[in-house]
């Protein structure tokens, strides 16, 4: 359904994505995993059209996101939802108004219909009865669930999840993960989840894409990933500090830096 072709994104000298080709199938949960700086958040933002790629294409069916008119992009986004890492609720609006926001903006539905739809979405995420609260009064987990309800408001075909479980306690994280799994299966939507939470990621994924240094290093079902014999994959899913993925990112040699006497260190 969504396909990228030689997708690259550079930030000045830093290469976040390097000629990445991925394929995301409809009606299932695709989990994109990788360590910090592996380019996974960049990939998600590119897929959502929030950033422009340096080069390459993103195909939604026959439409290329790269070079698409804003009008067409907004039409496409009417069928997309996104759950942001920090929820991104509009903090001047109550829980109810946040969830109702896309409906009020993009439909001409009656207030009573909108009320029914908002109540349904809040019921789906288990927050019915909290309509009147303001975003500042919510815990992190609740805010995420409200944002989830908002992302679902327009019954999207594709929903993007940016680190849905980060910053949450294990139970809240589990709740969010099972909500993603459950709602994807029930409503046949396409979920794209970016996370470094191996446990939750492998649990809900139909398809896993593992990124490292802007490249796909492994792909497949959770089982395939678990039993991969790639040392980098094993290191990542087991969280071992030693292995082919280095923990330190120093540019210069440690010995060299130690041998330089104070005061003579090169200033760059």
């Amino acid at each position: 359904m969504i396909r990228t072709e030689k997708l690259s994104r550079h930030f000045d000298d830093v290469i976040a994505l390097n000629n990445t080709d991925i394929h995301i199938k409809a009606h299932q949960t695709t989990v994109i995993m990788g360590g910090s700086g592996s380019g996974k958040t960049t990939l998600l933002r590119l897929l959502a059209g929030l950033e422009c790629p340096t080069s390459g294409h993103i195909w939604y069916g026959k439409d290329d996101l790269n070079g698409m008119s804003q009008k067409r992009l907004y039409q496409l986004r009417a069928r997309m939802g996104m759950l942001f890492q920090y929820s991104a609720l509009l903090n001047s609006l109550s829980v109810y108004d946040n969830v109702a926001f896309p409906l009020v903006e993009h439909t001409k539905l009656d207030k009573s219909v909108i009320h029914t739809m908002v109540t349904m979405k809040l019921e789906q995420v288990g927050l019915r009865g909290f309509e009147h609260l303001m975003p500042s009064q919510l815990s992190g987990g609740m805010a995420k669930r409200v944002a989830f309800a908002r992302a679902l408001a327009m019954d999207p075909e594709v929903v993007f999840f940016d680190e849905p479980t980060s910053g949450l306690d294990p139970i809240s994280a589990g709740v969010i993960a099972s909500l993603i799994d459950d709602i994807t299966k029930r409503t046949k939507m396409t979920s794209i989840v970016v996370t470094h939470d191996v446990h939750a990621g492998l649990k809900i994924a139909d398809h896993v894409i593992l990124l490292w240094q802007g490249k796909v290093i492994a792909e497949g079902t959770s089982e395939v990933i678990r039993h991969s014999d790639d040392a980098r994959v094993q290191q990542f899913i087991e969280g071992r500090p030693d292995g082919p993925i280095p923990f330190s990112r120093s540019e210069t040699s440690y010995i060299d830096d130690l041998l330089h006497k104070p005061g003579t260190v090169r200033m760059s």
């Binding site: 039409q75 986004r77 939802g81 996104m82 942001f84 991104a88 609720l89 926001f101 896309p102 903006e105």
Partner: protein
């Protein structure tokens, strides 16, 4: 390293720094101009943002009335007081009315009014948009197919442009009334002379000059403050820095623009 080398080094450093700063200033001016014109272009596109302009007029315009009234009142009072003691030395107290009125209408109303708006409304615009950037609310609007330039930037600039001339006019009237009270009621200047001189000396041109300045400052503050917020580095310090920069750039900008506009009107 010998001494001349060091001085040469610091000179090139200084000019390098100055050059970089200048280029960056020019670059961000162009960037701000592009951002605000593309945002303002949405005024002529659907959806119409009337409701959001009204909300911003309420927050930025109505909300600033009290501080503008207080500033205006004290400006008029102190001008009257200062002017009286200077004019009394020459026995020309009767000129007090025209002095106070000209100072307020041509200069102090627009400039002090604009300063107050930079501090109160401008800083809040920058901080609010900056926080929307940090908390990904601007991206969230994008994902909900709502253009943040049309929804967030446009109403704030328009509200600033409408509110500032109105607030400056209120500043003027309150300042003149307060100046009258101090000059006539407290210091004993003849009330008829105060008002008569005031009316005789103020030409329509003075009023237009004041309003054109207010309009110019409204555009300037709106553009600078929305730009600083929109382009803020998405971190807590980034927003803090952007807010400070918005207030500094806004205030300095007001003074520079004031000089330019004054030279046109004299």
């Amino acid at each position: 390293m010998n001494k001349t080398n060091i001085t040469q080094n610091s000179i090139t450093l200084f000019f390098g720094y100055l050059g970089r700063w200048f280029l960056r200033a020019i670059e961000s001016m162009g960037d701000a101009a592009v951002l605000s014109t593309t945002s303002l272009a949405h005024l002529f596109h659907r959806p119409w943002q009337g409701k959001h302009i009204v909300l911003q007029l309420y927050a930025l315009g109505v909300g600033s009335f009290v501080i503008i009234a207080i500033t205006g009142a004290f400006t008029g009072m102190v001008l009257s007081l200062q002017g009286y003691y200077t004019l009394a030395k020459f026995g020309s107290e009767s000129l007090l009315g025209s002095g106070v009125a000209l100072a307020i209408i041509r200069e102090l109303g627009p400039v002090l009014g604009a300063f107050m708006m930079v501090g109160r409304a401008g800083s809040s615009i920058t901080a609010e948009i900056g926080i929307m950037r940090v908390t990904e609310q601007l991206d969230a609007l994008q994902m909900m197919a709502i253009n943040p330039k049309a929804r967030v930037i446009l109403p704030r600039i328009i509200a600033m442009i409408i509110a500032l001339p109105i607030l400056v006019t209120m500043f003027d009237i309150i300042g003149l009334a307060a100046g009258y009270v101090v000059g006539v009621e407290l210091l004993g200047v003849n009330g008829g002379a105060f008002i008569g001189e005031m009316i005789a000396k103020i030409t329509p041109m003075d009023l237009y000059a004041g309003w054109v300045k207010a309009l110019g400052f409204g555009i300037l503050i709106g553009v600078i403050c929305t730009y600083m917020g929109y382009r803020a580095t998405p971190t807590t310090e980034g927003v803090a820095k952007a807010t400070t920069q918005a207030v500094v750039a806004g205030s300095v900008g007001v003074l520079v623009l004031d000089y330019i506009l004054t030279s046109f009107f004299l």
